[in-house]
Assembly symmetry: C2
Homo-oligomer: 133 residues x 2
């Protein structure tokens, strides 16, 4: 839902770490060790961020990751979407599938919940990685 999951938390820490490494390539192991983040989980996250063009990766010996965007171009809201999927304040606010709400007919609060959704979204859309650095 709308929250900073462990994945997002780890992503923020990793991105911050990478952004502070003066263009030197950073390995998953390095981040995992200094930040005490489970290695396998972190790897998955970095791979995802690479596939989403947030990071650039170099494989093999001496490989590692580097940023592919400026920190102020990476939005928290997007990170959350990438890592945890649809960001929604309530089950019925999932865009993708309209997650067929069983209450549809009897629900009397949907429009206000939608308003809430927008307000909360805005908070997360207004934060970028640069805010965390």
């Amino acid at each position: 839902m709308i929250r900073i999951s462990k994945k997002v938390e780890y992503a923020l820490m990793a991105l911050k770490f990478i952004s502070q490494s003066d263009n030197k390539l950073v390995t998953a192991r390095e981040i995992s060790d200094t930040k005490k983040i489970p290695y396998d989980l972190l790897s998955k996250i970095l791979q995802k961020l690479k596939n989403e063009n947030i990071l650039i990766s170099n494989q093999g010996t001496n490989g590692g990751y580097s940023l592919n965007k400026r920190t102020d171009e990476i939005y928290l809201f997007n990170l959350m979407n990438m890592l945890d999927g649809d960001v929604a304040v309530a089950d019925c606010m999932h865009e993708a599938k309209e997650k067929d709400c069983s209450l549809e007919d009897s629900c009397s609060i949907k429009s206000e919940v939608a308003k809430l959704q927008k307000e909360v979204e805005d908070v997360f859309k207004n934060k970028t990685i640069s805010d965390f650095v």
Copy 2:
């Protein structure tokens, strides 16, 4: 976390329903039937709201619930707290126990997460039941 769980959703629907019943006592069965909410679950929610002085209950035949506060005195943020416990954008933002964050030392993003917490809290603190009626 910070979201409208089913419990909160049902509470909002129920409170709206009760607020629109002109002081007539409303039974859990009545709400459950017309709003298609699982009866047992709804009962628990109403009992909780009664214990938190949001509702007044009358037991026995012809019993039921009525509001104990004006709708604009019932804050969404408080409802969430009552029904789902501590409202937090991240695990480390739980007040009660400081939920001993294993990253404590290596975490480099806590202050910004705290800022975020406050911003999101404010959204929920600025909504009352009257917004949903």
